[in-house]
Symmetry: D2
Subunit: 320 residues, 4 copies
Amino acid sequence: MGEKERDESQDANRIAVSRRGFLKAGAGLGAIAATGLALDLSKTDAEVAAPAQKPFPLKGYSLPLTPKGQSSIADAPPWHYGGDCLRLTFKADEKKVAALIPPPLEMGPNPGQGAVVFQEWVSVSEARPDLAFINPERAIYRECLVTLGCQYKGEPGNFVPYIWVDNDFTLARGFIQGYPKKLGRIYLTRLHELTPKIGGRQVGAKVKGICDVNAQRIIECSMTFTRPSEPSELPSARKSYLMRHFPSIEDPTRPVVHELTVPIVSNVKIKDVWGGDAQIKFFESPFEEVADLGPIEAQGAFFYSRGMTVSGGRVIHKYV
Amino acid sequence: MGEKERDESQDANRIAVSRRGFLKAGAGLGAIAATGLALDLSKTDAEVAAPAQKPFPLKGYSLPLTPKGQSSIADAPPWHYGGDCLRLTFKADEKKVAALIPPPLEMGPNPGQGAVVFQEWVSVSEARPDLAFINPERAIYRECLVTLGCQYKGEPGNFVPYIWVDNDFTLARGFIQGYPKKLGRIYLTRLHELTPKIGGRQVGAKVKGICDVNAQRIIECSMTFTRPSEPSELPSARKSYLMRHFPSIEDPTRPVVHELTVPIVSNVKIKDVWGGDAQIKFFESPFEEVADLGPIEAQGAFFYSRGMTVSGGRVIHKYV
Amino acid sequence: MGEKERDESQDANRIAVSRRGFLKAGAGLGAIAATGLALDLSKTDAEVAAPAQKPFPLKGYSLPLTPKGQSSIADAPPWHYGGDCLRLTFKADEKKVAALIPPPLEMGPNPGQGAVVFQEWVSVSEARPDLAFINPERAIYRECLVTLGCQYKGEPGNFVPYIWVDNDFTLARGFIQGYPKKLGRIYLTRLHELTPKIGGRQVGAKVKGICDVNAQRIIECSMTFTRPSEPSELPSARKSYLMRHFPSIEDPTRPVVHELTVPIVSNVKIKDVWGGDAQIKFFESPFEEVADLGPIEAQGAFFYSRGMTVSGGRVIHKYV
Amino acid sequence: MGEKERDESQDANRIAVSRRGFLKAGAGLGAIAATGLALDLSKTDAEVAAPAQKPFPLKGYSLPLTPKGQSSIADAPPWHYGGDCLRLTFKADEKKVAALIPPPLEMGPNPGQGAVVFQEWVSVSEARPDLAFINPERAIYRECLVTLGCQYKGEPGNFVPYIWVDNDFTLARGFIQGYPKKLGRIYLTRLHELTPKIGGRQVGAKVKGICDVNAQRIIECSMTFTRPSEPSELPSARKSYLMRHFPSIEDPTRPVVHELTVPIVSNVKIKDVWGGDAQIKFFESPFEEVADLGPIEAQGAFFYSRGMTVSGGRVIHKYV
């Protein structure tokens, strides 16, 4: 077989590897495996034959790839984050939550448990920490997400079935990590201690989060501050389980990437935590399915500031 | 004279008053004045004739006027504000500054002095302090403005020739107060102490402000923090001199309102002041004239938090 | 009396005129009137005394006023318009419609009759017809408005109680003409004959209009095309009655401008008219009152292209 | 070896296949190959062992995957498009164009040839043709792209190094097809035959396209209509060569998908073609590299309406 399987391959769901190379080695496969050598299945015939090939001339962590490599929609991790967060916990019908959790993830130890998060982030990449200064729009965004308690091999965590953001670099990071991000208009009350009648975080302060998608309100949450709180009270110290998925352009039924990942998070800081009463509303829509989770029982809310670094992720399960 | 001057009057620049009433009283005008009675020139014939008229049925501080009176684009003052501010001072050519200052305002004691301000505000009205909670978008906005030092009858202050905002209630408040607001996209670096690589206000922190109007960058400023500072160091403790102006719909050459006002400001609080180095750029545009102020010499910058209440304004000079 | 009444006048609702001048002339007021001389009440003492004053150095139809006069948020009329329109007629409870119509306007010959209009406009000013070419964003906008049938002195017309737009120059034109414009996100299906599955205007085509204000859907309308139609079938060939209103900055209860106007419209062209079935929904909101018009009975819909010129307006009634 | 290589695999760039299965079969690999059996390397141990597994419960062409499968950011192709297009051709320095073209694509027969396209699209998916009616925002977008002439195995075509859009479903379709889309604000003059002073497509008409990215104008083009034209005159009847690329979340240096594709386009219609003079400007930016193509020589411009269907794509070359 020649190079043909690398060019104009019909089945995008099968990553073509050099079968020729495999078959040549076939007889000795058992022998090779026994030596403990790592089989590198990613090299092409050409690469095997001419390892000193010219490197690919265009650079970047993500598209577009360019000569300078500075146009990528998202830079490579690590990514640094800091900002204010409104987190509201809820309990939903177990069956409805289960319907959203992809096996082999399983229902969590607290069946039906979930949360809605409204977050304002300032975020830069390790590669270009000056982003927030060179062009502020490139470093600021808001997001609204739903998380559902689950577990993997007995280890509890949160799966994210729905999430909306309002900036493109974060949308792209989402595809790359496994957050199913879409664009929405996200609003979150901004408290400021110097604004008469509003003030800062204090007993009686009220915040609201609204997520509007294509001219339709989808999620609306509110919190009334009742008490100062501690980071230890926050329910969300669990790992996230995310699902990466990238469609084929040749066969719509067979994604070329479909796997579960866990983000590598470090450097987590939490500050100024307040607890309070929560209200959560999900709205019906011909396009968004988040209202199918309802009716839900809002349990409580926290408002706090947090910072962290995400250095990448680990793949824990592959579907393809 | 009959009602004719009230209906279908051709000259919109003349506020029609009941001449009939005046002329009737004409002979006794001197006498009336001598008694100290306040001449109320705003009443119509109808109102004078039938003071027990039904009140106007639609309510609101500004359009639209409605039965409930809760749809106005802007509520009545007092208006409360709180937020973070980047203020950069500059010196420009005196003649260019003078060309923008409307007489009888005069050049200030520091000829050529001006400032650019980038501000993130949280703002509510006294009438509806819950705005920020009911619908956050209605209480948050950013603005970018240019101020020029001037004086009025020997009292120094700042005139505002240019200002852009990104929300409608503040645009309307602008027309009402005398800020010549237009819509723009305003960006300001957001510092956050928990964001690795960015942090909060500290020596070495950098912020940038960008004002983009109709897909064209008009103003770009930046500040590098060099030292903590005090409210007393801020150059901007002067009053603002604003120019209200409302065109006629009948005669484009004769506005029906044209006057100078001073806002009534109270309850000013300033906190967390930092000083630093400033850079200011104005960009040419076929529509915006701010670049005509240049070239300018950026002098310094301050970043701080402030809050205040605006209760209305005083008219100090009328052109019509 | 001295100049005092011109400076720092307390009552913004009363247009200060030179009382001194009036009182001086007071005794002869009757005489003056009898001569037929037009009393010009807009001149200040200064202007009367020194008619050869320097002209006001800043130019523009609306703020900001500048040396070049090219920064105004809105240019002077005439204004030219062209674009596609979705117009849906409805019948509402007469009392609810009457509650929105400002006297002396009265209920129209078809009590309870109203319409919702979704419009995409391309618009330039006579002064700068190149706007659409120099900077397209400055010449394009969408609007959504509600009109209510009424009459003035027996002449039928439409009053506009509610209207949302998505660009600033049109918001300003609204304040100036008497359209109570606020900002919203307006969406209207765009038909295109070359889009497979959608096509252009034809039997069976469907269009939807959505008006979203501050992350809340306020109005939603749809039309299914059933038949080609003629301009003569359109119900909207009536004049508009608009209400100009400009608040005082000194006294929130007494606007300085409050009057009814009629826009001067010419050069109307209508083309490609289609008729069809209509659906109209108004949604409740804590801020918008349009849903108070309901429930309504949608009667019919038209989709067409139109162009026109607005040269200004005539004031037909003054409240102050 | 057990299932371990499927779970927690460290090297995301290597598609894990069931080595156990391979090794079992190892001895007979040559024999298997000789029989001509297609080796399906995508099945997991579990799938091989229990082919009657429950199907994956979440549905959708792209994330998010849900029970109903109607929340995907992008539906599966076919995708239908219709709209107006401004296409300007240019000649740039050959070396600069070559620097952007990914091997094995090569410089085209017209070295240095390229184009800028501003396009307003109405687009729906075959799966949900009613999108434009249910929620207009979901079916309308504008894009601005740069294309460069190239060839692959002697067949001329256009590579797309840069492209900006203003809606999320098209951004996602871009990642899936190989268009390196990012978000921008795209403006294009809208002609309308009924707008006085502007009119429709005619000799002398002028249109401008502006692409603004993060508050910075990146591309600005204009065309003055000089003559009616024919579809046959359009230079762009060539296929597009696109580059799909999806990063790893584990190893930033090794994308899991990197391949060249050709979109499958059908049902192309072109109408109302006009030709004219062109002007193209690229602007420098700290983030966008399009200005590195310059200086360029604008050659000509066309404005026309077009429609088409994209049914997917073919992979023609794989890098990994």
